[in-house]
C-alpha cells in the first residue's frame, strides 16, 4: 500500500512538473484560458454573492420561530391591501399584551437628529430610529456590547447601535450618557455590537430590506408622545395631526413580530388573534373577512419578494457568460493539445498508457483551475465593488462570504476540467505513428 | 519558352550565406522534354521552384513565354503561375477534404472561368488521365498512382504552356511509375513542354534532353536522341491532344 501511494504521490509531483513545463511552452494560450475562466467564474460568483445576501436567512437560529403578523382590520370595505402588514395601535397593544409568545415586538420606523447633550458642539447626527416595545431586543437576539435594553415602553431611555456610538462617542462605553434627540433628553442604557442583518428581516417592506440596522432604539410610547414622525408606510381613513394622535384612531403604521416556540404556541396565538378579530366583527367594526396571517422569517421575506429581480436577470446572463468562457477555454485547449501531439506520441511510444496521458492532462487542467479560481476571487471582489457603482442600493449586500469564496475556487476547478474533457479525449484517439510523423 | 540567365538564389541565415543557385543559366525551347538530374542538395529542386515562380531569385533574369519575370508583383506572378505553368509534385499535394473534381477544379477557379467552362475542362482533363469515372472520389480512396494522375489532370486543366514535374514518380512503385511516365511522354509527343526533376537515370535517358545541376550550377548537358518519340511542332498548347491510349483501369493498381 505504501509503495502505491508513494508512487502516486511522485506521479502527481511529476505531472505537476510537466504541467508547469507545458505552461511555459505556450504561456499566452494558458494565460488566456486562465483569464477567461477566471472572469467568467468571478462574475458569476459576485452575482451569486449578491443573490445569496438577498436570499439568505438572517437569523437562522430562530427564523422558524419568529413570525410577522398581518391582520385584516381595515375599517371599511375598501382596503389598501388584504391582509395589511401594518397595524393600528389598538391591534398592536392587543398583540403585546398576550403572554403566548415568548417575545413580542411592535414598532415603527422614525428618525431624529442626535447629539451628545454634554457636548459643546451643536453638531447633530441624522439617525434612524426604531420606536419599539422592549421585547424587540430578545426577539431579534440583538447583540449588546454594553448595557441592556430598556424594560418599559414609556421611559426616557434608548439603546444605540455601534455605528452611532462610534460617531458620537468614538466607540467607548456610553451607557449612562444622555443624548439630546430633537430637543429632548434621553439616557443611553445599552449599546449594541456591530449588527448586520442581511436582509433586514424586521423591516423588509418599503424597500428597506437591505438597509443597515437602526441607529437608535427608543421606547414606543415615548416616541409617540414625543411625536417622532413615521418614516415608513402609514395609511389611515382619517386625518390626524401627528403620531401623537394615533393611539385611538384608525391609523395603520405599526409592524408586529412575535416569537412562538412551537406549533402549539403558534396555533394558540392564531386562535388568540382570530378571537380578537371576531370580537371586532361582533360589534360591527371588522367589515372585511378575518385574515390574520403569521409568517415566519423566511416565508415573510419570500412574500416580500425582496430578491432584486435585476440582480437575478444579471445572474442569468453571467451564467451564459460562463458557458461562453468554458467553450472558449475548450477550443483553446484543443488547439494546445493538438500542437502537443508530437510530445504525447513520443511519451506513448516509450510506454505511457492512455491513462497516464489522461492523468497528465487532468492534472494540468486542475492546476489551471486552481489558478483561475484564485484569480476569480480577486475579480469577484472587484466586480462587487464595481456593481455598487451601477446599483448603489446593493451596497450593504456586496459581501463575499467564505462559502462563496470556496464556491468560486470549486467552480473554476470544475469548469477547467470540464473544458479539457473533449480535447483530452481527442488526444487519446490519435495513433502513435501519426503523432510522431 | 523558358530563358534563365545567371539566376542566383541565395539563402541567408544569421551567419551563413548559401547559394542554392549560382549563376544558373538555362534555355528551354517549346516542345522539349528536359530531365534535370543531380546529386541531392545540388539545387535542382530550387531550380524548379524558381522556374515555377514558387520561389523568388536574387540575381539574374528569367523570361517565361516571352514575359520577363523579375520585378513582377505577387499578383502578376500568381496569374502567370495560374495560366502558364502546371506543377506536378512528388507527393501529389491534393487537398484531402476535396473530391477529385474539386481538386482539379481548384486552379480553374482562380482563373475566373464560369461553372460550365470549369466543368468541361475538369472532365476533359480527367478523361485524359483515365479517371473520369471517379469524379466524386476522395484522394484517400485512390492509389498513389491514381492520385498522381489526378495531380497531372489538375496541372493540365488550365492548358498551361509548360509542365514542371518534381520527382513525379518518386512515391510510386515501378508499375505506376511506368504509367505516369507514359502519360508524360504522350503529352510531350503532342507538343507539351516538360521539365522534370528526377533521380532515376533510366527515366532521364528516355527524354530528349538532360541537364545536370551540381552545386547550384548547370553542369554539362547532353542531348539524347529520343528513343522512338517524335516531337510535333512547337508552340502548341498541351491541351490539343487527341484522346490517347490511356486505358481506364478497372482494377485499382
Amino acid at each position: 500500500m505504501r509503495r502505491l501511494s508513494m508512487r502516486s504521490a511522485s506521479m502527481l509531483a511529476y505531472n505537476l512538473t510537466l504541467a508547469m513545463q507545458s505552461f511555459k511552452r505556450a504561456p499566452s494560450l494558458y494565460f488566456l484560458v486562465v483569464l477567461t475562466l477566471s472572469i467568467g467564474v468571478g462574475l458569476l460568483c459576485a452575482n451569486l454573492a449578491l443573490v445569496n445576501s438577498m436570499a439568505s436567512d438572517p437569523i437562522p437560529e430562530k427564523s422558524e420561530q419568529l413570525f410577522h403578523v398581518s391582520m385584516n382590520t381595515w375599517p371599511n370595505d375598501d382596503p389598501q391591501a388584504e391582509p395589511f402588514h401594518i397595524l393600528r395601535y389598538r391591534e398592536a397593544m392587543k398583540i403585546v399584551s398576550s403572554d403566548i409568545p415568548k417575545n413580542s415586538a411592535v414598532f415603527y420606523a422614525s428618525g431624529v437628529y442626535a447629539r451628545d447633550s454634554a457636548s459643546p458642539s451643536l453638531k447633530r447626527f441624522d439617525s434612524s430610529v426604531r420606536a419599539t416595545t422592549p421585547g424587540f431586543f430578545s426577539l431579534t437576539n440583538a447583540p449588546f456590547a454594553y448595557g441592556s435594553g430598556f424594560i418599559k415602553s414609556s421611559v426616557m431611555e434608548v439603546v444605540i447601535g455601534h455605528e452611532l456610538n462610534q460617531k458620537i462617542f468614538t466607540g467607548e462605553n456610553s451607557v449612562g450618557k444622555v443624548l439630546e434627540l430633537d430637543g429632548e433628553l434621553l439616557t443611553i442604557v445599552g449599546v449594541l455590537k456591530p449588527w448586520r442583518l442581511r436582509p433586514l428581516f424586521y423591516h423588509a417592506t418599503e424597500g428597506r430590506a437591505f438597509n443597515l440596522t437602526d441607529d437608535i432604539y427608543a421606547p414606543l410610547e415615548t416616541s409617540i408622545d414625543l411625536g417622532w414622525s413615521i418614516h415608513a408606510r402609514s395609511s389611515s381613513t382619517v386625518s390626524y395631526k401627528g403620531v401623537k394622535f394615533t393611539r385611538d384612531r384608525d391609523v395603520f403604521y405599526l409592524q408586529a413580530w412575535v416569537e412562538l416556540e412551537n406549533s402549539a404556541k403558534k396555533q394558540a396565538f392564531q386562535y388568540y388573534l382570530d378571537n380578537y378579530s371576531q370580537s371586532l366583527k361582533d360589534v360591527g367594526e371588522h367589515p372585511l373577512a378575518i385574515r390574520n396571517e403569521l409568517r415566519d422569517v423566511n416565508a415573510w421575506l419570500l412574500e416580500q419578494n425582496i430578491v432584486d429581480q435585476k440582480v437575478l436577470a444579471f445572474t442569468l446572463a453571467s451564467v451564459l457568460f460562463l458557458c461562453v468562457c468554458v467553450f472558449n477555454a475548450s477550443s483553446l485547449l484543443l488547439s494546445r493539445f493538438h500542437s502537443a501531439k508530437f510530445e504525447v506520441g513520443l511519451r506513448r511510444a516509450i510506454g505511457a498508457s492512455n491513462k497516464n496521458i489522461l492523468m497528465q492532462g487532468i492534472t494540468e487542467s486542475a492546476l489551471l483551475g486552481v489558478i483561475a479560481g484564485l484569480l476569480s476571487l480577486l475579480l469577484s471582489w472587484l466586480f462587487l465593488k464595481l456593481s455598487i457603482k451601477f446599483l448603489p442600493d446593493l451596497e450593504n449586500l456586496a459581501v463575499l462570504e467564505p462559502k462563496l469564496l470556496l464556491l468560486g475556487v470549486l467552480l473554476a476547478l470544475v469548469t477547467a476540467i470540464f473544458s479539457a474533457l473533449y480535447p483530452l479525449y481527442r488526444g487519446t484517439r490519435y495513433t502513435i505513428s501519426a503523432e510522431l510523423k | 519558352m523558358l530563358k534563365m540567365n545567371n539566376i542566383s538564389r541565395i539563402y541567408q541565415s544569421d551567419t551563413i550565406q548559401t547559394h542554392a543557385l549560382r549563376d544558373f543559366s538555362l534555355n528551354v525551347e517549346a516542345g522539349e522534354f528536359v530531365a534535370v538530374t543531380g546529386p541531392s542538395g545540388s539545387g535542382k529542386s530550387t531550380f524548379l521552384n524558381v522556374a515555377g515562380l514558387l520561389d523568388h531569385f536574387d540575381r539574374g533574369q528569367y523570361e517565361l513565354d516571352g514575359v520577363s519575370v523579375q520585378g513582377l508583383k505577387d499578383n502578376e506572378l500568381s496569374r502567370l503561375r495560374n495560366e502558364k505553368i502546371g506543377f506536378i509534385f512528388q507527393n501529389y499535394n491534393l487537398i484531402p477534404d476535396y473530391s477529385i473534381f474539386d481538386n482539379v477544379d481548384m486552379p480553374l477557379r482562380y482563373r475566373g472561368f464560369n461553372a460550365n467552362e470549369r466543368k468541361r475542362r475538369v472532365e476533359e482533363a480527367l478523361e485524359k488521365v483515365g479517371l473520369a469515372s471517379r469524379l466524386k472520389y476522395l484522394p484517400s480512396q485512390l492509389s498513389g498512382g491514381q492520385q498522381q494522375r489526378v495531380a497531372i489532370a489538375r496541372a493540365l486543366a488550365g492548358e498551361p504552356k509548360i509542365l514542371l514535374a518534381d520527382e513525379p514518380t518518386g512515391n510510386l512503385d515501378s508499375l505506376m511509375a511506368r504509367q505516369v511516365m507514359e502519360i508524360l511522354h504522350d503529352l510531350n509527343k503532342d507538343g507539351a513542354t516538360i521539365i522534370m526533376v528526377t533521380h532515376d537515370t533510366d527515366q532521364a535517358r528516355e527524354v530528349n534532353r538532360n541537364v545536370q545541376v551540381i552545386d547550384g550550377q548547370l553542369a554539362d548537358f547532353r542531348v539524347y536522341a529520343p528513343l522512338d518519340r517524335q516531337a510535333e511542332q512547337t508552340g502548341k498548347n498541351i491541351s490539343a491532344v487527341a484522346s490517347k491510349n490511356v486505358n481506364e483501369e478497372v482494377v485499382d493498381a
Binding site: I39, V324 | R154
Partner: protein
Amino acid sequence: MNFATLNIKGLIKSLLLRKFTTGLLILQLAITLGLLVNSAILAFDTREKMSKPTGLDDENILIVSTHPTSGSYRDLDYYRSIVNEDLSKLNQLPGVNSVSITNQLPIRGRGMLSNTHDIDNPEQEKADKYLKDVKYTLAGEHLAEAMGFTIIEGRFLNKSDELDFDSEAKNNIVITESLKKGLYGDESAIGRETNNGIIVGVIKDIMLDPTLPRDKQYGLFMNTIMKYIFIGRFYVINVEPGQMANVRNQVSDTILAVQAERDIFDVFTMSEHLKNFYRDDQGLSDLFLLLCGLMIFVTAISSYAYSQFHISRQKKYIGIRRALGARKKDILLYVLTENWLVYAVGCVLGLVMALGFNILLSQYISLSKPDMMLFLLASAVIFIAGTLATWIPAVKTSNIPPVIATRTV
C-alpha cells in the same frame, strides 16, 4: 473581392469536418448575439424611459432637500418664521425667479397619497382604482411659478387659499388634467367639490409617477404647507436659464445663514432628479453592456484561436493553392470567408437565442421585444469584431509563400 474563386461547397465541407471546434464557436457567437440584442433593447428602453417629457422645466428647477436638526423646530411658529425667511432670502439671490416649498416632488413612485372622489360620487373609486392613490401635494404659494405649471382652467393656489390653522372650512385645491378627466370626464371641474376640497384650478399634466400610465397622473395640490410645516422638506427654486451654477453654489450657505441648525441633504436639479429615478435601470443597462463587451472580447479570442488553429493545420494546402495560382488576395478572401460562414451560422442561431433570452429575461425585468433591425445591427457588430480579431492571422496566411507546397517537412 472575387467571390467566384471560392468553392463555397468545399468550404462548408471542410467546416463540417471539424464539427467540434466550429460548433463551439457557433454556440459562442449565438450566445453573444443573443446577449447583444437584449442589451441593446435594455439600453434603448432605458433611454426611452428617461426621455419621456416630464411637463416641467427640468433644467431650470433647483430643489433643496432639507430638515431641521434642532428640537427648537418643534415650536411650529418658530419653524414657520425660519422657513419664511429662507424663502425670502432665496428669492433675493440673483438669477432666482421664484421660490416655493412643498412636501413631495413629482417623478417619484408612491409618496403621500390620498383617495379622491367627487363628494357626491364616492363609488368612483371602485371603478377607477387610481383614484385611491392620488398624489397629495402641499404647495407653497408660488409653487406653480417655481415648477412652471401650466394652468388650463381656473387658477393656481394663492395666499387666500391658505386657511387659518384651526379653520374647519373646506380647502381649495388644484388638480391635474388627468385627475379632472378621471373625475369629471370632459366637463369643467371648477367649483366642484371633492372629498379633499373644492377645485379652483386644473393644471396640465406633469409626470408625477413614471410607473403609472400617462393618463393616470392623478395629483392634487392644496395650500396647507404652512399648517403642516414639519413635512415641508423641499424648497423649489426656479432659476433663470444660464444661472443654475451660480445659484446652486449659494443656496446651502444662504439657508444655513438664516439658521444653521439644518441638515441640507441634497441640492439637485429636476433633470438630475429624473435621472436619479432611473438610476437603477440605467445601472442594469450599463452592467449588461459591460457584460456584452466582455463576451465579445472572449468570443473574439475564440475566433482568433479557431482561425489560427485551422490555418496552422492547413499551411501546406494554402501553399498548394498559391502554387496553383491563387493570389494573396484570394487566400485572404478564402480565410475570411471561412470565418464569415461560421459567423453567419452563429448569427442565425443567435436569432433564436435572442428570442429565447428575451422571453427568459422578461420574467425578471421589463423588456421590449426584439426587432429585425436590431438583430441585423448586432450581427454586423459580430462580423466586424470577428473580422478584426482574425485579421492578422488572415493576412499572415495570405503571406504564406507558394514554395511551402514543395516542402516535404
